[in-house]
């Protein structure tokens, strides 16, 4: 039987776990997080509509992507990681020429700069939409190049990858789209 005095003491001592335990939980869950990796709210929703001229001189409308899975890659000639991931995109486009569309969005760049990039690092032949002002990228919620969207045949965004692509990322996302990588 606790006397009132000792009950007061117990209550007082409870302050320690009441303060320390939630703080411990917060600090250690906080440790696992990456403040730079922000999930895109577009995942699970249709790709926002866009239309613009391409580097190749044609006019591109995003509705053209309907009917088969697509990869939309945001890049720029001034972006060093874009150089790193470019061979992987070339390889991807070459191997899936029949079951996948690839579209580039040239982010805040000049047409000359982008053509120079393709001449130097290889042109995979896919259309590259020129987004000089960055408006199309903002419409897609882009933070900065490189960024890549994986879209299914119904035009729904299935995944968004921030930063340079890797083989593992490509394999996983293609599998999720129902394509054998």
């Amino acid at each position: 039987m606790a006397t009132p005095a000792s009950r007061g003491t117990i209550v007082r001592w409870l302050v320690v776990p009441i303060v320390v335990v939630p703080l411990a939980w917060l600090l250690f869950t906080g440790l696992g997080r990456d403040p730079r990796n922000i999930p895109s709210p577009l995942v699970g929703h249709p790709l926002p509509v866009f239309a613009a001229g391409t580097l190749e001189g044609t006019h591109f409308v995003s509705a053209e992507l309907r009917g088969r899975p697509a990869v939309v890659n945001v890049w720029a000639s001034w972006c060093p990681p874009c150089v790193d991931e470019h061979p992987l995109l070339l390889d991807l486009a070459a191997r899936h020429i029949d079951d996948l569309s690839v579209v580039g969005i040239v982010y805040q760049d000049t047409a000359d700069g982008a053509r120079g990039f393709l001449a130097r690092y290889g042109n995979g032949g896919w259309p590259n939409v020129v987004d000089a002002s960055g408006a199309i990228a903002v419409n897609l919620g882009v933070t900065g190049p490189p960024e890549t969207f994986f879209i299914d045949a119904d035009g729904i965004v299935r995944a968004r990858h921030v930063g340079p692509l890797t083989r593992a990322v490509i394999a996983a996302e293609l599998t999720a789209l129902g394509i054998v990588p």
Binding site: V20, L23, L26, L31, P35, I38, P39
Partner: protein, 660 residues
């Protein structure tokens, strides 16, 4: 060789601090002076060892020894010597090394100064400080080894973080901040020692007050210098963005400031012991929280360091310090017993206590806002942000209330105030405030924030001026001194009070400068061809040409300068640049600031087109910004004045030391 010796020094330093902690505990129980002396010597040895390790790191940086991972990551063969030296604290592992140097330095200083005094407290103070230093040595021995090697050895390093090698201020504000942070371990150690030995008396309070004020001065200067760095380097025209790094420094400053105020009540009334202990513990824990936030990568920030396992170590240290401090406090609660409030509802005491509520309110808001993204993600998985607009809206009213209390406190007598006193002391200051607002309005100042803060500042200044005049009059009447001498004697005979007033003058200056610069500034952005002009306020800028060149002291850096001529106040030539660093994907702005007492002209280059020769400029006219730095300096001066050893007190201390 040298890095190996540096690493060895760290390992031996860890052993020395652990020995010191154990010896202090043993010596504290047995009261054996020989054991205590050996414990003190072990701390001095640890300080020498970490100083040697810092020297080893500086030599490795200056000689570009890329076999050391830290050097390879933060230095290049072309890095100028000045930036090589300050790279000691510009990245994660080095900053912990530097931090340990300061922590061990403070510990040595305190243990040396009090080697013959406070015999009951000092062993426990020493044990706490030794454990604190041991923690940092352990971090360097395991997860954050600054002397970790790398193979194969590269011929060229990555170079310092571009943002951190762009301005010499980087050599100034981190050491000041770190001196403040590490120094807050001293009041914590005294707090723990007092709780263990049950000696929370007047003597304890006087020592802790003094040793809170010393690091507080460094923390204040570090915060202001950091704001200045942000203003001079980041190129967005502002000085405070409520970035987690800034908040990390502000949090312990807030609780330490609360302590400085409530300790005056505690000293005078012999009460509030639980509260002052809680503030001392909170201040130290918040310095650790700040370190955790900026060194674990859990929040995005201007210069948070890359994530590493160091975060987990700091999390454990935070929980241990907080848990131990709280447990001790609760254990001693029945003996601290301050049940009765120290003064009437309207009294100087209660003004100080409401001041503490406001400081703690801001502390809570800033901590909550800084942790908010983590809290939201931990509870719901969603991503959320809290930014400067939120911090400004939530905190601005509390800061205004604090400024008001700055005036109310000194006007109210200790104990309690009668209606007559209130009437006598407040009438003139309120009239002065109204007159100031009306005058400012007539001079063209508009907007509630600058007008309101001007009025409040006038209120506070007149209250304090009234106090000074009253005291000086009494002196010159009783002693026949002339007014200036009377004021000087008055101030030097009661340094704490008048030093505090001087600090409050600095706060008023800062408050007005912040309110005016935040609301009355103008800015414009324009893309200019050579020969084109841009006008803002009284200034006209003419864009001349774009010049691209290699920096003379670091050839890896390309600078593109827009050269301008300025007509209007401070006319002449000026240039603002963007610098391309090989290890930074974005160009670093180098804004040019023309400061004057009234306003700053702040020009930054947003972008350029080399082919057309055009430059996109953003130009700000920021009123009164220089007064923010000046106000900060006045605050620091006031605090230095307050703790300046005065001859009589030194004599008394010497006498008591001899007597003991």
């Amino acid at each position: 060789m040298i890095p190996t010796l540096g690493h060895l020094a760290v390992v031996v330093g860890l052993a020395a601090t652990l020995y010191a902690a154990a010896a202090f505990v043993v010596g504290g129980r047995s009261r054996d002076p020989a054991v205590l002396a050996s414990a003190r010597r072990a701390i001095y040895v640890a300080f020498v060892l970490v100083a040697f390790a810092c020297l080893a790191m500086v030599i490795s940086l200056l000689t570009h020894d890329f076999s050391v991972l830290y050097v390879a990551r933060n230095n290049a063969t072309t890095t100028p010597p000045f930036y090589s030296v300050i790279s000691l604290w510009a990245a994660l592992e080095g900053s912990i090394l530097f931090w340990t140097l300061l922590a061990a330095g403070w510990a040595s200083l305190v243990l040396y100064r009090y080697r013959a005094r406070l015999p009951a407290l000092m062993p426990w103070v020493g044990a706490t400080l030794a454990l604190g230093s041991a923690f940092f040595f352990a971090v360097m021995a395991w997860p954050g080894d600054p002397f970790a090697r790398v193979t194969p050895i590269g011929l060229e390093g990555n170079g310092p973080n571009a943002l951190l090698q762009n301005h010499p201020f980087m050599g100034l504000h981190p050491p000041l901040l770190y001196l403040g942070y590490t120094g807050m371990a001293i009041p914590f150690a005294f707090g723990i020692a007092a709780l263990i030995t049950r000696r929370t008396d007047e003597e304890w309070l006087a020592v802790v007050r003094r040793w809170t004020l010393v690091p507080w001065i460094f923390l204040t200067m570090g915060i202001v210098a950091g704001a200045w760095w942000s203003y001079a380097v980041l190129g967005w025209g502002g000085y405070w963005a409520w970035d987690p790094v800034e908040n990390a420094a502000l949090l312990p400053w807030l609780t330490a400031t609360a302590f400085i105020h409530s300790s005056m009540v505690a000293e005078r009334r012999g009460t509030l012991r639980t509260w002052t202990h809680a503030l001392v513990i909170a201040t130290f824990v918040l310095t650790l929280v700040g370190t955790f936030l900026t060194r674990s990568g859990v929040v995005a920030s201007v210069h948070s360091f890359t994530s590493s396992s160091i975060g987990a170590w700091f999390a454990v240290a935070i929980l241990l310090a907080l848990g131990a401090g709280l447990a001790l406090l609760i254990w001693r609660l029945p003996e601290l017993g301050d049940r009765r409030p120290p003064g009437a509802v309207v009294s100087r005491e209660s003004a100080f206590l409401f001041n503490n509520v406001l400081f703690l309110g801001i502390t809570f808001a800033v901590l909550f806002g800084t942790l908010y993204p983590i809290i939201v993600e931990a509870t719901s998985g969603a991503r959320a942000s809290v930014g400067a607009p939120w911090f400004n809206r939530v905190n601005a009213p509390i800061f205004v209330a604090l400024l008001f209390l700055t005036g109310v406190g000194p006007a109210l007598p200790w104990g309690g105030a009668s209606w007559t006193t209130v009437r006598e002391r407040f009438a003139v200051p309120i009239l002065a405030a109204v007159a100031t607002v009306v005058a400012a309005w007539a001079l063209g100042v508009r907007g509630p924030a600058p007008l309101g803060i001007l009025g409040l500042a006038a209120f506070v200044l007149v209250v304090m001026g009234d106090e000074v005049v009253r005291g000086a009059q009494a002196r010159s009447r009783s002693r026949g001194e002339v007014a200036p001498l009377a004021i000087w004697r008055l101030a030097t005979r009661n340094r704490r009070r008048y030093g505090g007033y001087l600090a409050h003058v600095g706060i008023c200056v800062m408050a007005v400068a912040i309110a005016v610069s935040a609301t009355l500034g103008t800015d414009t952005t324009a893309t200019l061809k050579p020969g084109q002009r841009l006008s803002i306020g009284a200034y006209t800028l003419t864009y001349q040409r774009l010049v691209t060149r290699q920096l003379p002291d670091d050839a890896r850096v390309t600078e593109t300068r827009a050269e301008l001529t300025l007509a209007g106040p401070q006319s002449g030539a000026l240039a603002t640049a963007l610098r391309d660093y090989p290890n930074s994907s974005t160009a670093i702005a180098t804004p040019v600031v023309r400061s004057a007492l009234g306003e700053d002209l702040y020009v930054t280059l947003l972008g350029y087109d080399s082919a057309k020769g055009t430059a996109t400029l953003r130009v700000f006219v920021n009123p009164l910004v220089s007064w923010i730095w000046a106000g900060g300096a006045i605050v620091a001066l006031g605090a230095i004045f307050a703790i300046w050893p005065d001859r009589r007190r030194v004599a008394v201390e010497a006498a008591t030391a001899v007597a003991a």
